[in-house]
Amino acid sequence: MIRVNGLTKDYGARRAIDNLTFDAEQGEIVGFLGPNGAGKTTTMRILTGYMPPTDGTATVAGYDVVEESLEVRRRVGYLPETVPLYNDMTALEYLKFMASLRRIPDTEQRAYESLEAVNLEDRADSFIGTFSKGMRQRVGLAQALIHRPEVLILDEPTIGLDPAQIVEIRNVIREIGKDRTVLLSTHILSEAQQMCDRVLIINKGKIVTEDTPENLQSRLVGSQRVVLRVRGDSDGLNARITKVKGVRTVESKPDGSVEFEFGAGEDARPQVAKAVVQGGYELLEMRPVGMSLEEIFLELTRETSDDIKAS
Protein backbone atom coordinates (compact mmCIF):
# COMPACT_ATOMS: atom_id res chain seq x y z
CA MET A 1 0.00 0.00 0.00
CA ILE A 2 2.89 2.33 0.71
CA ARG A 3 6.03 1.93 -1.39
CA VAL A 4 8.89 4.29 -0.76
CA ASN A 5 11.99 4.15 -2.89
CA GLY A 6 15.11 6.26 -2.41
CA LEU A 7 13.14 9.16 -0.97
CA THR A 8 15.25 12.25 -0.30
CA LYS A 9 14.26 15.73 0.81
CA ASP A 10 16.50 18.76 1.15
CA TYR A 11 15.53 22.00 2.88
CA GLY A 12 18.05 24.31 1.32
CA ALA A 13 21.44 22.87 2.27
CA ARG A 14 20.04 20.65 5.02
CA ARG A 15 19.11 17.09 4.11
CA ALA A 16 16.01 16.16 6.11
CA ILE A 17 15.62 12.62 4.79
CA ASP A 18 18.25 10.70 2.94
CA ASN A 19 17.45 7.87 0.54
CA LEU A 20 14.64 6.23 2.51
CA THR A 21 13.29 2.94 1.21
CA PHE A 22 10.51 0.97 2.87
CA ASP A 23 7.12 -0.67 2.26
CA ALA A 24 3.95 -1.02 4.29
CA GLU A 25 1.28 -3.59 3.43
CA GLN A 26 -2.47 -3.66 3.90
CA GLY A 27 -3.51 -4.67 7.42
CA GLU A 28 -0.17 -3.64 8.82
CA ILE A 29 0.58 -1.02 11.45
CA VAL A 30 4.04 0.34 10.86
CA GLY A 31 5.72 2.49 13.48
CA PHE A 32 8.07 5.23 12.53
CA LEU A 33 10.36 5.65 15.48
CA GLY A 34 12.99 8.29 15.93
CA PRO A 35 14.11 11.30 17.92
CA ASN A 36 12.75 14.76 17.13
CA GLY A 37 14.12 16.10 13.86
CA ALA A 38 14.85 12.61 12.49
CA GLY A 39 12.72 13.20 9.38
CA LYS A 40 9.47 11.50 10.42
CA THR A 41 7.20 14.47 9.72
CA THR A 42 8.96 15.27 6.44
CA THR A 43 8.42 11.70 5.21
CA MET A 44 4.77 11.81 6.21
CA ARG A 45 4.25 15.15 4.50
CA ILE A 46 5.64 13.74 1.28
CA LEU A 47 3.43 10.64 1.52
CA THR A 48 0.31 12.76 2.05
CA GLY A 49 0.98 14.96 -0.98
CA TYR A 50 1.72 18.06 1.08
CA MET A 51 5.17 18.55 -0.44
CA PRO A 52 7.16 16.90 -3.21
CA PRO A 53 10.43 15.05 -2.51
CA THR A 54 13.77 16.31 -3.82
CA ASP A 55 14.55 12.86 -5.15
CA GLY A 56 13.17 9.33 -5.15
CA THR A 57 9.62 8.05 -5.57
CA ALA A 58 6.75 7.04 -3.37
CA THR A 59 3.41 5.44 -4.17
CA VAL A 60 0.45 5.24 -1.85
CA ALA A 61 -2.45 2.90 -2.67
CA GLY A 62 -0.86 2.46 -6.09
CA TYR A 63 -0.67 6.16 -6.97
CA ASP A 64 2.45 8.29 -7.27
CA VAL A 65 2.55 11.00 -4.61
CA VAL A 66 3.80 13.64 -7.06
CA GLU A 67 2.18 12.71 -10.37
CA GLU A 68 -1.18 11.62 -8.95
CA SER A 69 -1.24 13.70 -5.81
CA LEU A 70 -5.02 14.23 -5.77
CA GLU A 71 -5.67 10.47 -6.07
CA VAL A 72 -3.29 9.86 -3.18
CA ARG A 73 -4.91 12.55 -1.06
CA ARG A 74 -8.35 10.99 -1.67
CA ARG A 75 -7.16 7.68 -0.24
CA VAL A 76 -5.10 8.87 2.70
CA GLY A 77 -6.27 9.98 6.12
CA TYR A 78 -3.73 12.25 7.75
CA LEU A 79 -3.38 13.55 11.27
CA PRO A 80 -0.61 16.15 11.27
CA GLU A 81 1.49 16.62 14.38
CA THR A 82 0.08 20.11 14.94
CA VAL A 83 -3.54 18.78 14.88
CA PRO A 84 -4.94 21.60 12.75
CA LEU A 85 -8.51 22.47 13.72
CA TYR A 86 -10.79 25.47 13.35
CA ASN A 87 -11.54 26.76 16.84
CA ASP A 88 -14.57 28.73 15.69
CA MET A 89 -16.36 25.58 14.49
CA THR A 90 -18.12 22.88 16.46
CA ALA A 91 -16.72 19.37 16.22
CA LEU A 92 -19.63 18.37 13.99
CA GLU A 93 -19.33 21.41 11.70
CA TYR A 94 -15.61 20.80 11.32
CA LEU A 95 -16.07 17.16 10.40
CA LYS A 96 -18.89 18.00 8.00
CA PHE A 97 -16.64 20.57 6.31
CA MET A 98 -13.83 18.04 5.91
CA ALA A 99 -16.29 15.37 4.78
CA SER A 100 -17.76 17.64 2.12
CA LEU A 101 -14.26 18.40 0.77
CA ARG A 102 -13.84 14.64 0.47
CA ARG A 103 -17.14 14.24 -1.41
CA ILE A 104 -18.73 11.97 1.15
CA PRO A 105 -22.44 11.57 0.32
CA ASP A 106 -24.05 11.72 3.77
CA THR A 107 -21.74 14.12 5.59
CA GLU A 108 -23.75 14.47 8.78
CA GLN A 109 -24.19 10.73 9.29
CA ARG A 110 -20.51 10.06 8.62
CA ALA A 111 -19.38 12.91 10.87
CA TYR A 112 -21.36 11.34 13.73
CA GLU A 113 -19.87 7.91 13.03
CA SER A 114 -16.39 9.37 13.14
CA LEU A 115 -17.10 11.11 16.42
CA GLU A 116 -18.43 7.84 17.83
CA ALA A 117 -15.25 6.06 16.78
CA VAL A 118 -13.25 8.43 18.98
CA ASN A 119 -15.89 8.62 21.76
CA LEU A 120 -16.73 12.27 21.28
CA GLU A 121 -20.33 12.02 20.08
CA ASP A 122 -21.63 13.78 23.21
CA ARG A 123 -19.51 16.86 22.37
CA ALA A 124 -20.58 17.08 18.72
CA ASP A 125 -22.07 20.56 19.12
CA SER A 126 -19.34 22.06 21.32
CA PHE A 127 -16.89 24.53 19.86
CA ILE A 128 -13.45 23.07 19.21
CA GLY A 129 -11.91 26.13 20.86
CA THR A 130 -13.23 24.89 24.22
CA PHE A 131 -11.70 21.40 23.88
CA SER A 132 -8.85 19.97 25.92
CA LYS A 133 -5.69 18.72 24.22
CA GLY A 134 -6.92 15.15 24.34
CA MET A 135 -10.26 16.02 22.80
CA ARG A 136 -8.59 18.04 20.07
CA GLN A 137 -6.40 15.05 19.30
CA ARG A 138 -9.50 12.88 19.02
CA VAL A 139 -11.28 15.33 16.70
CA GLY A 140 -8.14 15.32 14.55
CA LEU A 141 -8.22 11.55 14.43
CA ALA A 142 -11.94 11.58 13.58
CA GLN A 143 -11.08 13.88 10.68
CA ALA A 144 -8.43 11.45 9.43
CA LEU A 145 -10.93 8.57 9.59
CA ILE A 146 -13.96 10.27 8.12
CA HIS A 147 -13.56 9.03 4.54
CA ARG A 148 -12.59 5.50 5.64
CA PRO A 149 -9.20 5.83 3.99
CA GLU A 150 -7.18 2.90 2.71
CA VAL A 151 -4.07 4.38 4.28
CA LEU A 152 -3.88 6.22 7.57
CA ILE A 153 -0.87 8.39 8.36
CA LEU A 154 -0.70 9.62 11.94
CA ASP A 155 2.02 11.94 13.17
CA GLU A 156 2.46 11.43 16.93
CA PRO A 157 -1.19 10.42 17.48
CA THR A 158 -1.03 9.97 21.27
CA ILE A 159 1.08 12.98 22.20
CA GLY A 160 -0.43 15.09 24.97
CA LEU A 161 -3.07 12.54 25.95
CA ASP A 162 -3.60 11.17 29.45
CA PRO A 163 -3.00 7.45 30.06
CA ALA A 164 -6.68 6.49 29.77
CA GLN A 165 -7.04 8.37 26.49
CA ILE A 166 -3.83 6.82 25.17
CA VAL A 167 -5.24 3.34 25.74
CA GLU A 168 -8.48 4.42 24.04
CA ILE A 169 -6.76 5.91 20.99
CA ARG A 170 -4.45 2.91 20.69
CA ASN A 171 -7.48 0.62 20.63
CA VAL A 172 -9.11 2.74 17.92
CA ILE A 173 -5.94 2.66 15.81
CA ARG A 174 -5.45 -1.08 16.31
CA GLU A 175 -9.03 -1.67 15.23
CA ILE A 176 -8.54 0.40 12.08
CA GLY A 177 -5.21 -1.25 11.40
CA LYS A 178 -6.84 -4.65 10.96
CA ASP A 179 -7.83 -4.04 7.36
CA ARG A 180 -6.00 -0.84 6.46
CA THR A 181 -2.45 0.36 6.31
CA VAL A 182 -1.40 2.54 9.21
CA LEU A 183 1.86 4.44 9.38
CA LEU A 184 2.32 6.20 12.67
CA SER A 185 5.21 8.10 14.08
CA THR A 186 6.18 8.19 17.69
CA HIS A 187 9.18 8.78 19.85
CA ILE A 188 7.74 6.63 22.62
CA LEU A 189 9.24 3.18 22.28
CA SER A 190 6.75 1.31 24.41
CA GLU A 191 4.04 2.67 22.16
CA ALA A 192 5.70 1.28 19.05
CA GLN A 193 6.20 -1.99 20.88
CA GLN A 194 2.54 -2.25 21.85
CA MET A 195 0.84 -1.07 18.69
CA CYS A 196 3.01 -1.83 15.70
CA ASP A 197 3.49 -4.95 13.65
CA ARG A 198 6.74 -3.54 12.40
CA VAL A 199 9.03 -0.73 13.51
CA LEU A 200 11.28 1.46 11.38
CA ILE A 201 13.90 3.24 13.41
CA ILE A 202 14.92 6.47 11.74
CA ASN A 203 17.65 8.86 12.77
CA LYS A 204 19.17 11.84 10.96
CA GLY A 205 17.01 11.11 7.92
CA LYS A 206 18.14 7.52 7.51
CA ILE A 207 16.54 4.21 8.40
CA VAL A 208 18.74 2.67 11.04
CA THR A 209 16.92 -0.62 11.29
CA GLU A 210 13.59 -2.27 10.55
CA ASP A 211 11.94 -5.28 12.19
CA THR A 212 9.11 -6.50 14.39
CA PRO A 213 9.35 -5.15 17.95
CA GLU A 214 10.02 -8.67 19.30
CA ASN A 215 12.73 -9.48 16.77
CA LEU A 216 14.29 -6.11 17.31
CA GLN A 217 14.65 -6.84 20.96
CA SER A 218 15.99 -10.36 20.63
CA ARG A 219 18.19 -9.51 17.66
CA LEU A 220 19.86 -6.63 19.35
CA VAL A 221 20.20 -8.19 22.76
CA GLY A 222 23.04 -10.64 22.29
CA SER A 223 23.00 -11.88 25.86
CA GLN A 224 20.61 -12.19 28.75
CA ARG A 225 21.29 -10.83 32.20
CA VAL A 226 19.70 -12.20 35.37
CA VAL A 227 19.70 -10.91 38.93
CA LEU A 228 19.75 -13.49 41.73
CA ARG A 229 19.18 -13.01 45.45
CA VAL A 230 19.66 -15.46 48.34
CA ARG A 231 18.83 -15.27 52.03
CA GLY A 232 21.74 -14.26 54.22
CA ASP A 233 25.36 -14.35 53.17
CA SER A 234 26.20 -14.82 49.51
CA ASP A 235 29.92 -15.58 50.05
CA GLY A 236 31.24 -18.17 47.65
CA LEU A 237 28.18 -17.92 45.47
CA ASN A 238 30.08 -16.25 42.63
CA ALA A 239 32.50 -19.14 42.33
CA ARG A 240 29.63 -21.65 42.14
CA ILE A 241 27.75 -19.76 39.46
CA THR A 242 30.86 -19.17 37.37
CA LYS A 243 31.28 -22.95 37.04
CA VAL A 244 27.86 -23.39 35.43
CA LYS A 245 28.03 -24.02 31.69
CA GLY A 246 27.00 -21.04 29.57
CA VAL A 247 27.54 -18.37 32.18
CA ARG A 248 29.78 -15.64 30.84
CA THR A 249 30.17 -13.17 33.67
CA VAL A 250 29.21 -13.00 37.32
CA GLU A 251 29.17 -9.84 39.37
CA SER A 252 28.34 -9.14 43.03
CA LYS A 253 26.19 -6.09 43.55
CA PRO A 254 26.56 -3.77 46.56
CA ASP A 255 23.02 -4.64 47.70
CA GLY A 256 24.03 -8.29 48.19
CA SER A 257 22.50 -9.60 44.98
CA VAL A 258 24.45 -11.32 42.24
CA GLU A 259 24.06 -10.56 38.53
CA PHE A 260 25.12 -13.06 35.90
CA GLU A 261 25.04 -13.07 32.12
CA PHE A 262 24.70 -15.88 29.60
CA GLY A 263 24.58 -16.00 25.83
CA ALA A 264 21.26 -15.85 24.01
CA GLY A 265 20.00 -19.33 23.18
CA GLU A 266 21.84 -21.09 26.01
CA ASP A 267 19.56 -20.51 28.96
CA ALA A 268 21.69 -21.23 32.05
CA ARG A 269 19.01 -20.39 34.61
CA PRO A 270 17.91 -23.97 35.57
CA GLN A 271 21.54 -25.02 36.11
CA VAL A 272 22.34 -21.91 38.11
CA ALA A 273 19.27 -22.45 40.32
CA LYS A 274 20.31 -26.08 40.91
CA ALA A 275 23.88 -25.06 41.76
CA VAL A 276 22.69 -22.42 44.21
CA VAL A 277 20.32 -24.76 46.05
CA GLN A 278 22.86 -27.59 46.12
CA GLY A 279 25.34 -25.18 47.67
CA GLY A 280 22.97 -24.81 50.62
CA TYR A 281 21.79 -21.31 49.78
CA GLU A 282 18.14 -20.30 50.06
CA LEU A 283 17.14 -18.89 46.69
CA LEU A 284 14.75 -15.94 47.09
CA GLU A 285 14.61 -14.35 43.71
CA MET A 286 15.82 -14.76 40.16
CA ARG A 287 14.67 -12.30 37.53
CA PRO A 288 15.87 -11.24 34.06
CA VAL A 289 17.19 -7.74 33.53
CA GLY A 290 16.07 -7.00 29.96
CA MET A 291 17.76 -4.42 27.83
CA SER A 292 14.81 -2.15 27.23
CA LEU A 293 13.83 -0.91 23.82
CA GLU A 294 14.86 2.51 25.11
CA GLU A 295 18.41 1.31 25.58
CA ILE A 296 18.44 -0.38 22.18
CA PHE A 297 17.17 2.77 20.61
CA LEU A 298 19.76 4.97 22.27
CA GLU A 299 22.42 2.46 21.28
CA LEU A 300 21.31 2.49 17.62
CA THR A 301 20.89 6.20 17.27
CA ARG A 302 24.23 6.83 18.95
CA GLU A 303 25.89 4.46 16.48
CA THR A 304 24.52 6.33 13.48
CA SER A 305 25.59 9.65 14.98
CA ASP A 306 29.08 8.27 15.40
CA ASP A 307 29.06 6.97 11.83
CA ILE A 308 28.11 10.38 10.54
CA LYS A 309 30.81 12.05 12.60
CA ALA A 310 33.39 9.51 11.42
CA SER A 311 32.52 10.07 7.79
Partner: protein
Protein backbone atom coordinates in the same frame (compact mmCIF):
# COMPACT_ATOMS: atom_id res chain seq x y z
CA UNK B 1 -16.00 23.72 -8.90
CA UNK B 2 -17.71 22.09 -5.91
CA UNK B 3 -14.61 22.46 -3.79
CA UNK B 4 -14.48 26.18 -4.56
CA UNK B 5 -18.06 26.50 -3.35
CA UNK B 6 -17.43 24.46 -0.15
CA UNK B 7 -14.42 26.62 0.76
CA UNK B 8 -16.28 29.81 -0.18
CA UNK B 9 -19.20 28.88 2.04
CA UNK B 10 -16.93 28.19 5.01
CA UNK B 11 -15.14 31.51 4.41
CA UNK B 12 -18.42 33.40 4.11
CA UNK B 13 -19.77 31.89 7.34
CA UNK B 14 -16.55 32.80 9.10
CA UNK B 15 -17.09 36.53 8.43
CA UNK B 16 -20.25 36.50 10.48
CA UNK B 17 -18.37 35.55 13.62
CA UNK B 18 -15.40 37.82 12.91
CA UNK B 19 -15.30 41.24 14.62
CA UNK B 20 -13.23 42.76 11.80
CA UNK B 21 -15.97 41.94 9.31
CA UNK B 22 -18.57 43.71 11.43
CA UNK B 23 -16.32 46.76 11.83
CA UNK B 24 -15.79 46.90 8.07
CA UNK B 25 -19.51 46.54 7.34
CA UNK B 26 -20.37 49.15 9.96
CA UNK B 27 -17.83 51.70 8.72
CA UNK B 28 -18.79 51.31 5.05
CA UNK B 29 -22.52 51.59 5.73
CA UNK B 30 -22.07 54.44 8.22
CA UNK B 31 -19.89 56.50 5.87
CA UNK B 32 -22.10 55.95 2.83
CA UNK B 33 -25.14 56.67 4.99
CA UNK B 34 -23.69 60.03 6.13
CA UNK B 35 -22.77 60.93 2.55
CA UNK B 36 -26.27 59.97 1.41
CA UNK B 37 -27.94 62.09 4.12
CA UNK B 38 -25.74 65.14 3.36
CA UNK B 39 -26.43 64.69 -0.33
CA UNK B 40 -30.21 64.63 0.16
CA UNK B 41 -30.06 67.59 2.56
CA UNK B 42 -28.02 69.57 0.03
CA UNK B 43 -30.52 68.94 -2.75
CA UNK B 44 -33.50 69.83 -0.59
CA UNK B 45 -31.80 73.09 0.50
CA UNK B 46 -30.93 74.01 -3.05
CA UNK B 47 -33.98 72.56 -4.75
CA UNK B 48 -35.05 75.92 -6.14
CA UNK B 49 -31.64 76.90 -7.47
CA UNK B 50 -30.66 73.56 -9.00
CA UNK B 51 -32.81 73.89 -12.08
CA UNK B 52 -33.36 70.57 -13.74
CA UNK B 53 -30.68 68.85 -11.63
CA UNK B 54 -31.69 65.66 -9.90
CA UNK B 55 -29.73 63.86 -7.21
CA UNK B 56 -28.12 60.63 -8.37
CA UNK B 57 -26.38 57.71 -6.76
CA UNK B 58 -22.83 58.43 -7.96
CA UNK B 59 -21.64 60.17 -4.73
CA UNK B 60 -22.53 57.02 -2.78
CA UNK B 61 -20.95 54.57 -5.20
CA UNK B 62 -18.00 56.94 -5.60
CA UNK B 63 -17.36 56.91 -1.86
CA UNK B 64 -17.75 53.14 -1.92
CA UNK B 65 -14.80 52.74 -4.27
CA UNK B 66 -12.58 54.75 -1.94
CA UNK B 67 -13.80 52.90 1.17
CA UNK B 68 -12.91 49.57 -0.45
CA UNK B 69 -9.27 50.66 -0.77
CA UNK B 70 -9.09 51.04 3.00
CA UNK B 71 -11.30 48.18 4.14
CA UNK B 72 -10.55 45.24 1.86
CA UNK B 73 -7.00 44.73 3.20
CA UNK B 74 -8.62 44.06 6.60
CA UNK B 75 -11.06 41.60 5.01
CA UNK B 76 -8.50 39.59 3.04
CA UNK B 77 -5.46 39.70 5.33
CA UNK B 78 -6.32 36.56 7.27
CA UNK B 79 -7.82 34.47 4.43
CA UNK B 80 -4.72 32.37 3.72
CA UNK B 81 -2.08 33.88 6.04
CA UNK B 82 -4.04 32.75 9.07
CA UNK B 83 -4.52 29.23 7.69
CA UNK B 84 -0.73 29.05 7.36
CA UNK B 85 -0.18 30.37 10.89
CA UNK B 86 -2.75 28.04 12.46
CA UNK B 87 -1.42 25.02 10.56
CA UNK B 88 -4.83 24.37 8.99
CA UNK B 89 -3.26 25.02 5.59
CA UNK B 90 -1.60 21.60 5.95
CA UNK B 91 -5.05 20.12 6.32
CA UNK B 92 -6.36 21.80 3.17
CA UNK B 93 -3.22 21.03 1.17
CA UNK B 94 -3.49 17.32 2.01
CA UNK B 95 -7.21 17.20 1.23
CA UNK B 96 -8.19 16.39 -2.37
CA UNK B 97 -8.43 20.07 -3.29
CA UNK B 98 -6.44 21.82 -6.02
CA UNK B 99 -4.40 24.85 -4.98
CA UNK B 100 -6.40 27.01 -7.38
CA UNK B 101 -9.70 25.81 -5.90
CA UNK B 102 -8.51 26.80 -2.44
CA UNK B 103 -7.50 30.31 -3.53
CA UNK B 104 -10.61 30.80 -5.68
CA UNK B 105 -12.83 29.57 -2.82
CA UNK B 106 -11.28 32.05 -0.41
CA UNK B 107 -11.79 34.82 -2.94
CA UNK B 108 -15.39 33.85 -3.67
CA UNK B 109 -16.23 33.68 0.05
CA UNK B 110 -14.84 37.15 0.72
CA UNK B 111 -16.55 38.43 -2.44
CA UNK B 112 -19.93 37.14 -1.24
CA UNK B 113 -19.36 38.92 2.07
CA UNK B 114 -18.62 42.28 0.39
CA UNK B 115 -21.54 41.64 -1.95
CA UNK B 116 -23.79 41.38 1.13
CA UNK B 117 -22.64 44.83 2.29
CA UNK B 118 -23.16 46.21 -1.22
CA UNK B 119 -26.65 44.67 -1.27
CA UNK B 120 -27.51 46.38 2.03
CA UNK B 121 -26.39 49.71 0.53
CA UNK B 122 -29.06 49.30 -2.18
CA UNK B 123 -31.46 50.94 0.27
CA UNK B 124 -29.96 54.31 -0.79
CA UNK B 125 -30.99 54.16 -4.46
CA UNK B 126 -34.36 52.70 -3.41
CA UNK B 127 -34.99 55.64 -1.01
CA UNK B 128 -33.71 58.10 -3.60
CA UNK B 129 -36.01 56.62 -6.21
CA UNK B 130 -38.94 57.28 -3.93
CA UNK B 131 -37.88 60.89 -3.31
CA UNK B 132 -37.33 61.86 -6.92
CA UNK B 133 -40.12 62.09 -9.44
CA UNK B 134 -40.35 60.32 -11.91
CA UNK B 135 -37.55 58.21 -10.39
CA UNK B 136 -33.75 58.12 -10.76
CA UNK B 137 -31.68 56.99 -13.72
CA UNK B 138 -31.78 53.16 -13.40
CA UNK B 139 -28.99 52.66 -15.90
CA UNK B 140 -26.62 54.84 -13.87
CA UNK B 141 -27.46 52.85 -10.72
CA UNK B 142 -26.70 49.61 -12.52
CA UNK B 143 -23.42 50.70 -14.08
CA UNK B 144 -22.21 52.38 -10.85
CA UNK B 145 -23.01 49.31 -8.81
CA UNK B 146 -21.37 47.06 -11.41
CA UNK B 147 -18.30 49.32 -11.03
CA UNK B 148 -18.31 48.94 -7.23
CA UNK B 149 -18.67 45.16 -7.54
CA UNK B 150 -15.81 44.91 -10.06
CA UNK B 151 -13.52 47.13 -7.95
CA UNK B 152 -14.32 44.97 -4.91
CA UNK B 153 -13.77 41.72 -6.82
CA UNK B 154 -10.38 42.91 -8.13
CA UNK B 155 -9.21 44.17 -4.76
CA UNK B 156 -10.34 40.97 -3.05
CA UNK B 157 -8.50 38.78 -5.57
CA UNK B 158 -5.30 40.79 -5.10
CA UNK B 159 -5.78 40.74 -1.31
CA UNK B 160 -6.29 36.97 -1.17
CA UNK B 161 -3.27 36.51 -3.47
CA UNK B 162 -1.08 38.62 -1.19
CA UNK B 163 -2.40 36.84 1.91
CA UNK B 164 -1.21 33.54 0.41
CA UNK B 165 2.35 34.85 0.38
CA UNK B 166 2.43 35.65 4.11
CA UNK B 167 2.08 33.75 7.37
CA UNK B 168 1.64 36.97 9.34
CA UNK B 169 -1.67 38.72 8.71
CA UNK B 170 -0.37 42.17 9.71
CA UNK B 171 2.29 41.91 7.01
CA UNK B 172 -0.40 40.82 4.57
CA UNK B 173 -2.54 43.82 5.58
CA UNK B 174 0.16 46.42 4.95
CA UNK B 175 1.39 44.96 1.67
CA UNK B 176 -2.21 44.75 0.43
CA UNK B 177 -2.92 48.35 1.49
CA UNK B 178 0.23 49.62 -0.22
CA UNK B 179 -0.69 47.75 -3.41
CA UNK B 180 -4.17 49.33 -3.41
CA UNK B 181 -2.84 52.83 -2.69
CA UNK B 182 -0.45 52.35 -5.57
CA UNK B 183 -3.13 51.11 -7.98
CA UNK B 184 -5.74 53.68 -6.90
CA UNK B 185 -3.64 56.85 -6.57
CA UNK B 186 0.08 56.68 -7.25
CA UNK B 187 -0.02 55.01 -10.64
CA UNK B 188 -2.05 57.93 -12.02
CA UNK B 189 0.79 60.48 -11.55
CA UNK B 190 3.17 59.20 -14.24
CA UNK B 191 0.20 59.38 -16.65
CA UNK B 192 -0.01 63.12 -16.07
CA UNK B 193 3.74 63.73 -16.32
CA UNK B 194 4.67 61.44 -19.21
CA UNK B 195 3.83 62.00 -22.88
CA UNK B 196 2.45 59.80 -25.64
CA UNK B 197 2.01 56.06 -25.38
CA UNK B 198 3.85 55.77 -22.03
CA UNK B 199 1.24 58.09 -20.57
CA UNK B 200 -1.50 55.94 -22.11
CA UNK B 201 -0.12 52.79 -20.48
CA UNK B 202 -0.13 54.37 -17.03
CA UNK B 203 -3.56 55.85 -17.61
CA UNK B 204 -4.85 52.36 -18.44
CA UNK B 205 -3.25 50.89 -15.29
CA UNK B 206 -4.83 53.56 -13.07
CA UNK B 207 -7.75 51.81 -11.40
CA UNK B 208 -9.84 54.81 -10.44
CA UNK B 209 -10.13 56.06 -14.04
CA UNK B 210 -11.81 52.74 -14.93
CA UNK B 211 -14.32 53.44 -12.21
CA UNK B 212 -14.82 57.20 -11.77
CA UNK B 213 -14.41 58.19 -15.41
CA UNK B 214 -16.68 55.52 -16.85
CA UNK B 215 -18.86 53.17 -14.82
CA UNK B 216 -19.64 55.69 -12.10
CA UNK B 217 -20.79 58.07 -14.88
CA UNK B 218 -23.07 55.49 -16.46
CA UNK B 219 -20.97 53.98 -19.26
CA UNK B 220 -19.81 50.38 -19.44
CA UNK B 221 -16.82 49.89 -21.74
CA UNK B 222 -15.13 46.65 -22.75
CA UNK B 223 -11.67 48.08 -21.88
CA UNK B 224 -12.79 48.58 -18.29
CA UNK B 225 -14.25 45.09 -18.01
CA UNK B 226 -11.03 43.59 -19.42
CA UNK B 227 -9.02 45.62 -16.90
CA UNK B 228 -10.95 44.36 -13.88
CA UNK B 229 -11.12 40.74 -15.05
CA UNK B 230 -7.33 40.84 -15.66
CA UNK B 231 -6.75 42.04 -12.09
CA UNK B 232 -8.94 39.24 -10.71
CA UNK B 233 -6.98 36.71 -12.76
CA UNK B 234 -3.68 38.22 -11.59
CA UNK B 235 -4.73 38.02 -7.94
CA UNK B 236 -5.89 34.39 -8.18
CA UNK B 237 -2.75 33.45 -10.11
CA UNK B 238 -0.51 35.10 -7.48
CA UNK B 239 -2.34 33.22 -4.73
CA UNK B 240 -2.14 29.85 -6.48
CA UNK B 241 1.56 30.32 -7.25
CA UNK B 242 2.27 31.35 -3.66
CA UNK B 243 0.55 28.20 -2.35
CA UNK B 244 2.45 26.01 -4.83
CA UNK B 245 5.70 27.67 -3.77
CA UNK B 246 4.92 26.90 -0.13
CA UNK B 247 4.83 23.21 -1.01
CA UNK B 248 8.35 23.39 -2.41
CA UNK B 249 9.86 25.20 0.54
Amino acid sequence: MRNIWIIAKREFDHYFISPIAYVVAFLILLTTGIIFAINIYYFIQNALQSFGQVPDISPITGAFGFLLVLSIPAVTMRTLADEARMGTLELLLTAPVRDFELVAGKWLGSFLFILTIVAVSLVYPIILNGLVSPGIDQQLVMSSYLGVILVAASFLALGVGISAVFTNQVAAFFVTLMTFVFLWWLIGFPAQVLQGSASEVFRYLDMKTHFYDSMNLGSIKLADLVYFVSLIALGLFTGTTAIETRRWR
